[in-house]
């Protein structure tokens, strides 16, 4: 049997290694409450950014509504779990965000590049205003309080250290799902559609269908992430999903790298860890982010993940070149 080239990227061993490594290192890093919070935040942001990777990295759709999808997922889940279980809340968050993305994506299926970006931005603005005003659904000023903590099979996740395992589990499931896509023809079609839509559709790729599917899937990831944040914190408001986070989601994926699933995880880690590492000059953190982004774009357009991937290849080459220079 011929193995497709994508299989050579060994997704599943890599995911297994990542999960084991995180399971070992995560609790070690979490020596204080604040650090535990950051580790959990990294995992839950990673889920949203992984979704954004599907939309922006794979499908090449400049969507500005991932934070709105997070908010929608969070509020949906908060509303459902008033009477029902946590699991049903998460599932309904997935369904609602996927349907919302499906509707939006269908209406603007022909919009390209910046038009798509701006239309999705408009969706975010409209949605957030409605969420803020619809007080019967959310609560006063768009703030939903008293959201039940996550509970699965009778176990209630109350401590942040407990939540870590839940988030790691969900992230693992999401990674496996994305790995399936990475190994499937969907990835190939999405890349073809992204690189040249006309040529792709002439060779039989349903460009709009592929992009719509990935947009729905990526948004559902955002819904999961938002729902988890809500249950973890017990409170969500429109401020938790504001402009800063929507720029932040972009930043995470671009810093990490748009062309691999690891970029999302690395970028989220950098984004979450940076304010902690810069303690003392937190005021300047957004300047640091911006400069970092500029440097990454200039020096390694593929993001940190691409730089890491290229390292083993680059060093021997540079070495051999130097040897050749010395000899020649």
């Amino acid at each position: 049997m011929i193995r497709p080239p994508d299989y050579r990227r060994r997704h599943f061993p890599a995911i297994a290694a990542f999960v084991v490594l995180t399971a070992v290192i995560g609790p070690l890093l979490s020596t204080s409450r604040a650090d535990q919070f950051l580790v959990d935040l990294w995992l839950v942001y990673s889920i949203a950014v992984l979704g954004f990777y599907l939309v922006f990295g794979l499908a090449g759709r400049f969507a500005f509504c991932q934070t709105f999808m997070m908010a929608l997922g969070g509020y949906t889940s908060a509303w459902v779990t008033r009477d029902h279980s946590f699991l049903l809340g998460v599932v309904s968050a997935i369904v609602v965000t996927a349907l919302a993305a499906g509707l939006v994506g269908f209406l603007i299926r022909k919009a390209q590049h910046f038009y798509f970006a701006m239309a999705t931005f408009a969706v975010t603005q409209i949605g957030m205003t409605i969420v803020g005003q619809a007080t019967s659904f959310t609560g006063p000023n768009g703030q939903a309080t008293g959201i039940a903590p996550p509970s699965l099979f009778g176990h209630v996740f109350l401590q942040d250290a407990d939540i870590f395992w839940l988030f790691l589990g969900v992230l693992t499931l999401c990674l496996i799902l994305v790995a399936f896509i990475e190994r499937s023809p969907l990835r190939r079609e999405a890349v073809a559609a992204r690189e040249n839509g006309l040529v792709a559709s002439l060779s039989g790729v349903g460009v709009q269908r592929v992009q719509l599917v990935l947009f729905m899937l990526g948004s559902a990831f955002g819904g999961v992430s938002g729902s988890l944040i809500g249950h973890w914190q017990g409170v969500i408001s429109t401020d938790s999903f504001g402009t800063d986070l929507s720029i932040g989601i972009f930043l995470m994926l671009l810093l990490g790298g748009v062309d691999s699933i690891w970029g999302a995880l690395i970028g989220a880690a950098v984004y979450v860890a940076l304010p902690r590492l810069l303690s003392g000059i937190e005021h300047y953190s957004s300047i640091v982010y911006g400069v970092l982004l500029l440097v990454v774009v200039l020096a390694v357009p593929g993001g940190i993940a691409a730089a890491v991937r290229r390292l083993p290849r680059r060093f021997p080459r540079r070495f051999s070149r130097r040897v050749a220079d010395a000899e020649g």
Partner: protein, 290 residues
């Protein structure tokens, strides 16, 4: 009736500011092909600079404003040097990301420099009002409309009648050809960045006295202006001005009469509907005839 007149007046004033924002955005787009995500933050920066020149430096309002606008020209050139010139040969997406980085840096600098407390900018005419058809209209709004109209006309003149405008239009039509016929693209690009930043500052200074200036002040304005630009066909300058007035009037009239709580979403709804129905804009007749 007086309510209608008041709302119409504020709609026109708002639309005029939107036109200035949108034109600043388009000048850069036409000259360089760059969609500048930092434009909104340039609007914010312009307003903050005006606050600084008039309060900290103690300049009178109008010279203070002019100083702020001049400074913003330098800021535009600086952005061109840092975030655009090194990326000239890269794909457009990289340049867009660089403008996003510039936006984040500008935002961070403002936050460090001025803090996150909202500021107010004193207008040159204070809080005086005039009465037209029974409606009290702030003189600032009339001033906005007048200044914006002058700026738009001046810009149209520059585009249609001067060598610089011709070069920009040549670049917009066909960058390769323009370069071959001797258009100095780098100079034109630098000029466009400066002009665009100055227009952003002008818009920020015009509208700031009507409310407060905070970090997100320009960002929302930019999105609304983008709605106007899309409505106007994203290319023709006249169409953009018309689109801006339509959006301004829709926001004020619908917001005033129908759903005040949702006024801010009307431009977003219009933007979304236009993109859903006609992804290339409403007034883009020439291209659809082609």
């Amino acid at each position: 009736m007086d309510k209608f007149v008041a709302l119409t007046a504020s709609g026109i004033a708002y639309g005029a500011v939107l036109a200035v924002v949108a034109l600043g955005f388009l000048v850069l787009y036409k000259a360089t092909g760059v969609v500048n995500f930092a434009h909104g933050d340039l609007v914010t920066l312009g307003a903050y600079l005006a606050v600084w020149t008039t309060t900290s430096l103690g300049l009178p309002t109008v010279p203070g404003y002019l100083a702020a606008i001049a400074l913003m020209g330098l800021v535009g050139v600086a952005i061109e040097r840092v975030a655009y010139a090194p990326l000239r040969s890269r794909p457009p997406m990289v340049v867009v990301i660089a403008t996003l980085a510039a936006a984040i840096v500008i935002r961070g600098i403002i936050a460090v420099w001025q803090g996150s407390e909202p500021k107010t900018l004193a207008g040159p005419v204070g809080n005086r009002v005039v009465h037209i058809a029974g409606a009290a209209i702030a003189e600032q709004r009339l001033l906005i409309t007048g200044v914006a109209a002058v700026a738009v006309l001046a810009l149209l003149f520059v585009f249609q009648r001067t060598p610089y405008g011709r070069q920009v239009r040549a670049l917009a039509a066909d960058p390769e050809m323009a370069r071959l016929t001797g258009v100095r693209t780098r100079l034109v690009a630098m000029g466009a960045f400066a002009l665009s930043a100055m227009l952003a500052a002008l818009a920020g200074i015009l509208i700031a006295p009507l409310g407060a200036v905070d970090l997100n002040f320009g960002f929302g304005l930019m999105v609304t202006a983008f709605a106007a630009a899309v409505l106007g066909g994203f290319g023709s300058l006249g169409g953009v001005v018309l689109g801006a007035l339509v959006i301004g009037l829709i926001q004020q009239l619908f917001g005033g009469y129908v759903l005040p709580d949702y006024a801010a979403t009307f431009p977003a709804i219009v933007l979304f509907l236009v993109i859903a129905v006609r992804p290339e804009g409403l007034l883009n007749l020439t291209r659809s005839r082609l």
